[in-house]
Assembly symmetry: C3
Homo-oligomer: 161 residues x 3
């Protein structure tokens, strides 16, 4: 038995957001045993599973992902530090150009594409006894990598019996 | 036809570990054709597929993941280097505080959450002719990101015919 | 209903390549509703979903992945910069040894394994109304992490009804 539906997540600011409830409340009846695949139809956000309790984890995830894929590079001689647009003022040297070729859509766009590949755009989660079989501390995150990403479309496919 | 079972992997030290045998020996009869989804119910370890032959690959994976998500940052003026707790003594400057907000569970905890998102917490692998259809050099890794992560629970769901 | 077939992608140079057409043209008849799992049987390439329009995105993805997992480290005193083999000449200091233990297969090999884990080696994509339900801007990328990776084998499993 296969159920499938497209749903839309409300717009959220850049960052990592717990969305387990917003997604699963739209699927009140799950099969007894199976899997659910949740797929986002965008290339500048992502889906992941992570800690559902301490909101600080979501703050640190944003710090770490910005460290992994920074928006700019310092081109002052002998510097070359990787920084984010928001750190530009605090940095000792001026930053005059972006590291990336794909820059027309803003300095947050290309990093968003790369982060999307790092986290992935889909999740496959087991269903057991008619419920999502997440661990006690697990929740579904929408990873919003754009400053203003808008509403995000998901396709949810449930395979079970 | 859907089969599903929770299994537990024995505790392992921090690092990347080949666990194909420990998982699949618990599923002696697979369907002829299908997929298996392997999902870990934790937020500080991960699952991935990588090289099954040279143990050095697992050593280098640990080096690379520590480089990607270091535990600390050096706050001595003009330094800002990212380092791991184990490198603290060797580094030229002292390190007085963590980069992260979520630090109560130890300096290896927040990096473990981020690494878990980078590798992912689940795998979907094809089954062909009643066997896992991995490439010659592929094996399933448990990525243990905590220093002492303990036993790890997996949910294994097999869909096939 | 489950369909499954192994296919081979033609050899491509190191970099990120749009392969949606090359894969899906081999599956002219999809079920009405379901999922497709695409799995690569290698440990030094990857599969991801990303922007299908501007080829610059694929150029920047290569830049970013090389930044994330560089091939070498500079061991001149007080340097320690991470660089790629191609940057060796341009760097101020000489580089005398690799950072990694697993180096017998070339300086691009161990980074390729790590990048493979970062992007992942499989994708699960929804099928809706008999078509792959990708977003307008989404395409399937083969991430070729080796300089000369050769032809790449995929297992494609379609579950639907």
């Amino acid at each position: 038995m296969i159920q499938q539906r497209e749903i839309t997540l409300k717009p959220r600011p850049r960052g990592f957001h717990l969305v387990t409830g917003e997604i699963m409340s739209q699927f009140p009846r799950l099969p007894k045993t199976g899997i659910v695949n949740i797929f986002t139809k965008h290339t500048s956000c992502g889906l992941t599973i992570n800690e559902n309790a301490d909101p600080d984890v979501r703050v640190d995830m944003e710090t770490i992902f910005n460290h992994l894929v920074p928006e700019m590079t310092c081109h002052r001689e002998n510097c070359g530090a990787y920084i984010n647009a928001s750190e530009q003022r605090g940095h000792l040297h001026g930053h005059d150009r972006l590291e990336y070729v794909h820059t027309l859509e803003g300095s947050d766009d290309m990093p968003a594409h790369a982060k999307s590949t790092l986290s992935g755009v889909s999740l496959t989660i087991p269903i057991t006894d008619g419920r999502l079989n997440l661990g006690t501390w697990q929740g579904i995150y929408l990873c919003e990598y754009r400053n203003y990403g808008g509403a995000r479309k998901l396709v949810v496919t449930i395979i079970g019996e």
